[in-house]
């Protein structure tokens, strides 16, 4: 969303698709978790493509609404397709994940596994940013007509990046499934999509690390807010509003502009 400027409120659904594909295939059909993981990616990518082609023609709020609607539909399917998902009573006894004989059966082991994937995702994202495709995405984000006039097939790149981000969400969903070993549809609602979005904005949209900073800080923040007991949600909300008002470019945006200001001072003095 940061580089291409496309707002999706459906990413909880992609996360859920990855999670449920992994859960259903391993529990109901006895698949190896890794095979299910890859299957989840394919299923999610395919669905993201089908959804992306028509909906990415919409802009701004309309795109957000369309993806929101899509997310709700998927969530209802998770609830209602009981023969596969066990509905709202939830899918249980999902197996853990292992490589060869090595089982990722403690929190710490799983922590490292997740970081391997996160690092991979960050690396791949950075590669895109520093490429022809990344430049095209940045261009169409700011000036769609200008980008088209320079030969950028804006529709194609929007769909590609939408599918890629859905794949990321799916992978995260699969990893989540095998960690938590229990799935119920409540985890994949609209609110989770909003949380993902808020993390991205909070960290800063103009930088891949912004997403990382946002995810980390918004996961840690509630832990500190426990001190406020029942008021934690209010404090959380106030912090978000303050950030949006005073740091519209997120935490990293603030850091970037601070660095630029310091640099400018140095240049003047030097």
């Amino acid at each position: 969303m940061g580089y291409a400027g496309q707002v999706s409120l459906g990413h909880a659904a992609f996360f859920g698709l990855g999670a449920y594909t992994s859960g259903v295939l391993t529990v109901k059909f006895g698949f190896n978790p890794w095979v299910a993981f890859v299957a989840g990616i394919f299923v999610t990518a395919f669905i993201a493509y089908i959804i992306g082609v028509p909906s990415l023609k919409l802009k701004g709020h309309y795109l957000a609404m369309a993806t929101l609607g899509f997310g709700s539909i998927i969530q209802i399917i998770f609830v209602q397709w009981r023969s596969l998902t066990e509905g709202s009573s939830g899918l249980v006894d999902i197996p853990g994940i292992s490589i060869g004989g090595f089982k990722f059966n403690t929190d710490l082991k799983y922590y490292y596994l997740v970081w391997i994937f996160a690092a991979l995702a960050i690396l791949l994202s950075l590669n895109i940013v520093q490429s022809r495709v990344g430049r095209a995405l940045k261009a169409l984000n700011k000036k769609e007509i200008g980008a088209e006039a320079m030969g950028v097939n804006t529709a194609k790149y929007k769909v590609q990046i939408f599918v890629l981000s859905a794949i990321y969400a799916s992978a995260a969903g699969s990893l989540y499934t095998h960690y938590i070993t229990f799935l119920s549809p409540e985890g994949f609602t609209f609110l989770f999509s909003v949380l993902i979005l808020v993390m991205a904005v909070f960290g800063g949209l103009t930088n891949i690390w912004g997403g990382v900073v946002g995810a980390v800080s918004l996961t840690i923040l509630p832990e500190f807010l426990r001190a406020y007991k029942d008021y934690d949600i209010i404090v959380y909300g106030v912090i978000l509003v303050m950030v949006m008002m005073f740091m519209p470019n997120g935490i990293l945006g603030l850091v970037e502009s601070a660095i630029q200001r310091i640099r400018a001072k140095w240049v003047v003095k030097g």
């Binding site: 490429s131 022809r132 495709v133 940045k138 007509i145 200008g146 980008a147 006039a149 320079m150």
Partner: protein, 256 residues
């Protein structure tokens, strides 16, 4: 040879007839200007050629092939590049990155190459960086290459747009009001630049309000008013044309 040929093209916005039954051509190697009072439909003509708008009726050809059904990016691939009156620069990038986007049609790396950072992708990046930098040198903007484009003064931003349009080596370059808002020196620099690239074989179509500039640099001028052609010819024919004088009602036309 006609590079661009427009045949009886019309476009209206609601009740407003922006372009009405317009027929004209652009011959290879020419510098042609389109002039006319405000709201005469000049920019609409540009938007029709570059595919940003689609015409209600009529046909536009580029080297004999029909452009009507093509998307803007496809037209860019054919070799028609342009600048914009209200600049379409990418504010989130540096000057040189903006120009590098202009090389999109000249590069091949797709998302898979980029993801895996394949050799081809890195090679390409280096090549187009050098090419973009060279083009900035051509417009005397190389010293600004690594600054954010949003921080530049208006005149320099326009030069960046020209560089971005030029860098892909297109056959036709369309300049939408290239000198509006520029200082006298900047206009002279741009005048030199346009003549230089024209001498290298580029065909140029421009929309401009600055009469002195147009009459000086263009070999052919098309005058439109209310979307209709009212005159076409070389500058000296245009300034003595009674319809043109009437359309500009009292405004002074001079070649000097």
């Amino acid at each position: 040879m006609d590079l661009i040929e427009a045949k009886r093209v019309s476009k209206s916005f609601g009740g407003l007839q922006a372009v009405a039954d317009l027929t004209f051509n652009l011959r290879k190697g020419r510098i042609k200007g389109i002039i006319g009072p405000n709201g005469a439909g000049k920019t609409t003509i540009f938007n029709l050629i570059s595919g940003i708008l689609s015409s209600d009726s009529g046909e536009i050809f580029f080297k004999g092939s029909l452009l009507n059904k093509l998307k803007p990016y496809q037209i860019a691939y054919l070799g028609i590049s342009r600048t914009f009156q209200n600049l379409q620069l990418f504010d989130n990038m540096t000057v040189v990155e903006n120009v590098m986007v202009g090389l999109h049609t000249r590069t091949r790396s797709e998302i898979v190459h980029a993801l895996l950072r394949l050799h081809q992708s890195r090679e390409e990046e280096r090549r187009i960086f050098e090419q973009a930098y060279e083009t900035l040198r051509l417009v005397n903007m190389e010293s600004r290459a690594f600054e954010m484009v949003s921080g530049l003064p208006f005149g320099e931003q326009k030069l960046v747009e020209v560089a971005r349009a030029l860098v892909s080596d297109p056959e036709v370059i369309m300049l939408d009001e290239p000198v509006s808002g520029l200082t006298t020196q900047e206009i002279e620099r741009l005048d030199d630049l346009i003549r230089k690239i024209n001498a290298q074989g580029k065909t140029i179509l421009l929309v401009e309000h600055n009469m002195r500039f147009v009459m000086n640099i263009c070999e052919e001028v098309l005058v439109v008013n209310y979307g209709k052609m009212i005159a076409e010819g070389n500058p000296s024919q245009i300034v003595s044309n009674q319809d043109v004088i009437n359309a500009y009602l009292g405004e002074e036309l001079s070649i000097a």
